[in-house]
Symmetry: C2
Subunit: 516 residues, 2 copies
């Protein structure tokens, strides 16, 4: 039996204890590298079907229009030739305008991280994983399910960092409801900067929140806002109030980010049959139209600003209205949405998601299906890839570990195969007698320590050993693993002067915003 299988981290006896140092957490997993998909993206629509859908996208924008609930945004649209009804906020945009401005958005770009190794490459065949975002609740097997707080927020950053699985951080990995609403974004941003050296996302709603994100990001990088604009580093991941409406607060955030040349990831939340047509092509037409209106707006404000077209189309349970994720419809929507984005030469964002009420086989297979679709469609940003549960209503600490295992599997699968004559191993085959075994041969001995991917969660014990060790499920074993990752967490380097400037900014702004 392995002496450092995950379960022993929660149930091992003293005999085993000294052996644990051979495995995780004493030697935590290395950060997964930048990932490139070696296969062409999957497609579900023909080229002519894509053109038919795209025509409908433009007709939605030209004939039906978007409700833009922000006077400054309306001015922008009017300035560039859109038909604007200032009273209702309805904006109709000709396809020539949409096409022109969308063509100004970069097809691929880099967002700069404080640690240059962690620069986020967006576009092409690169896929990136991000953590759960926006959950109001957090759960773990020890403390149960509860509202999120800043401690849970920190724990999620530490564990996703420690397990080496995300290519960018935040947003709101869980809502810290223990902090005052109007200044909690400052605490979240500070935690991102202190606990991670990757690209991070600001909250996607509110001008104040974008303003503070921009300033803190500039401070983190030790540059001015003007320099930041030439060196995009920050992003927001934000929604549309589907169908066809964008509210003032979202637009404030988008416009401020655009003015400063930072990345806007715009994702209509279009559940088929609820906020979008019940048909897949219909929902994708609406999703793409809504996102393109924002892409155009961003380019109207500052041409060349990085934007990402986001997709979140899924189905609902038509008997209850409950959203469903990781379903066949979700898979097809992800693949089809990415196809439309590719046709438009825009990067695409999707998600690794599920609607399971607990971390069980359903959570794993729904997540597995959505991850398959996200990766094989060449989704450039894959949100919620660590810790999302309950259709996003809960961030689960154990789910982070299950997701880490799945993400690390994918990272291995996507590696290119090497092949030397020694890999082909004809002489190794010759050296082992018929009916013999390869355990002791030189070919094996030279490679056995690094030959195979070593899982962090999977338990390959036989039944008897597993039973005797307490019959722990993967979810139960995950409890010990996330706690180990949290406890073993080491913060990445941060210049003390920069840290001081961050703290001072946060204190000053809290005072200005009236925190008590």
């Amino acid at each position: 039996m392995p002496t450092d299988t995950p379960q022993e981290q929660t149930s091992g006896g003293s005999v085993r204890r000294r052996e644990r140092s051979r495995g995780f957490p004493a030697k935590p997993p290395v950060q997964i590298p930048r990932l490139e998909v070696p296969w062409p993206p999957l497609e579900i629509f023909s080229a002519s079907e894509i053109e038919r859908m795209l025509d409908a996208v433009y007709r939605v924008l030209e004939e039906i229009g978007m409700e833009i609930l922000n006077p400054a945004a309306l001015e922008r649209f009017a300035l560039h030739g859109a038909q604007v009804d200032a009273e209702t906020g309805l904006v109709r945009i000709g396809r020539d305008i949409v096409q022109h401005f969308c063509s100004l958005a970069p097809e691929r770009f880099v967002l700069h991280a404080r640690n240059p190794v962690r620069d986020l490459h967006v576009g092409g065949n690169v896929v990136n994983f991000g953590p759960v975002n926006g959950a109001p609740n957090v759960s773990d097997l020890e403390r149960g399910r509860r509202y999120g707080d800043i401690e849970a927020f920190r724990d999620i950053l530490k564990v996703t960092h420690g397990l080496g699985i995300v290519h960018w951080q935040g947003g709101v990995v869980v809502e810290p409801v223990d902090l005052p609403v109007h200044t909690r974004h400052l605490d979240m941003y500070r935690e991102h900067i202190v606990l991670s050296d990757a690209v991070w996302a600001a909250r996607g709603v509110g001008g104040v929140q974008a303003f503070d994100g921009l300033n803190l990001c500039a401070l983190e990088h030790g540059i001015s806002l003007d320099d930041l604009a030439r060196r995009p580093s920050l992003m927001i991941v934000t929604n549309v109030n589907s169908p066809r409406r964008v509210d003032a607060e979202i637009l404030d955030s988008i416009m401020l980010m655009a003015e400063h040349g930072q990345c806007v990831v715009i994702t209509p939340f279009t559940l088929m049959g609820a906020m979008a047509p019940i048909t897949l092509p219909g929902a994708l037409v609406q999703q793409t139209a809504e996102a393109l209106a924002i892409v155009a707006l961003v380019q109207m404000i500052r041409s060349g600003t990085p934007v990402v077209l986001g997709g979140f189309t899924s189905n609902v349970d038509m008997r209850t209205g409950s959203p469903a994720f990781g379903t066949p419809e979700y898979v097809r929507a992800t693949i089809g949405g990415a196809q439309l984005a590719r046709r438009l030469r825009l990067p695409y964002r999707s998600s690794s998601v599920n609607a399971a009420p607990c971390v069980d086989a359903q959570a794993a297979y729904e997540t597995g299906f959505s991850l398959f679709a996200a990766i094989m469609s060449h989704s450039h940003l894959i949100n919620h890839a660590a810790g999302w549960l309950e259709g996003g209503l809960c961030a689960s600490m154990e789910k982070i570990v299950v997701d880490a295992e799945m993400l690390r599997h994918w990272a291995e699968i996507l590696k290119q195969a090497e092949m030397t004559d020694d890999d082909i191993g004809l002489e190794a085959i010759r050296s082992v007698p018929a009916g013999g075994h390869y355990f002791g041969c030189d070919h094996t001995k030279a490679r056995y320590q690094t030959a195979f991917y070593r899982p962090i969660l999977s338990d390959w014990s036989n039944y008897e050993n597993w039973r005797d060790a307490g019959e722990l499920t993967a979810t139960q074993r995950a409890l010990g693993l996330w706690k180990s990752a949290r406890d073993a967490y080491v913060a990445p380097p941060l210049d003390p002067a920069i840290r001081d400037s961050i703290e001072a900014y946060v204190a000053r702004r809290k005072q200005a915003l009236g925190d008590v």
Copy 2:
């Protein structure tokens, strides 16, 4: 809350009871159809790498050879020009001989089922699912883990049939250890014929077992053995004693099947670092060489006999020797093995497998990865796709339901998209105000009952409803579902005269074989 979610089948109160008839099991799932993969197969090797590996395959057969422990098989090989050492059983086969005979095997073929709708199409872009095979143990949440018996054997046939998820049945879905060893194959074959109308597999070891399989299959189809040879209907799924050895009993079975023109699925069991080189190319070279020797033998016996090149290459835990499945190495081996088979114009068999000790998130993600590889590599037969657990040491009743859900998801994902103007839904989008919803619109009402895939296991309830219904995991919910499927099982039609002939044959053979 849905009134017919799976959990209510085990925990529902009387209020809900009358509503259950709306869902499964009163309306059991329909059989998934023949599945075609709309995407080209994934590849991990370049064309030149494939040729280099293939050269090594031929060199294994020419220079190193296979140990063939069966005099009749040795005669066959000698007759067709192979170099045979009758003393040791070592056979060396020139590549010209291997290539000639392998070229006689069909690239695609049909195995005939008693119910012609269920004919098994093997080859091209068609993927087929089969049940767990060869497990000595069975488990379920009520009765725990125990040795297999004929009752469990029947239950697995009923449940996989009832859930509509397999494209063929048997071999040994679980070992019925309560029956005498030398005649238990007769009972298993009878159950296949009585409980299923699909193609079934005979046990892959032993001449007696093949003989009885052939005769019972001919009786089932109401034709002679000669006619059966012209209408392939039976298969065996059998292994090689890797490395490079095939024992007498396996060869007896293979040769008898070949003489009667029935399908041989030959799968070397090549764990990297144990029975095969630790490198992926090395293991695939050995796997392909071993399988090709048998493919050639089958064609030497009866040219044109359907054969399938099987792959089972995976890694082991190098610290313990435990086999691992559904790993990144397994995924790559499956994709690479299928590539070699495609180059050889032979159908390929792989598996949907895992090494989890219980039906949990690990079982689901390992199964998910292997299923992804099997389907996306265009594996024509996907063994163990329903019920396999513990690296094959146990057939799990709850796992059948989890697998059923995953297989049915795939069946939906593989469907081709349709697109009418009405699907694009421009008028539906026009009809719903900005910020409104689509629940009540005509476009939705006309489609909501059939728009989306309806899961059998997934629970999309919100947390509170799920908690109040007993906090059941997917695995716990699966208990009620497989029992429902078993209890609702209805046997497919079987001509009473044929049934009598089956029973008479089994009785006669049991007497002949000395059953008591």
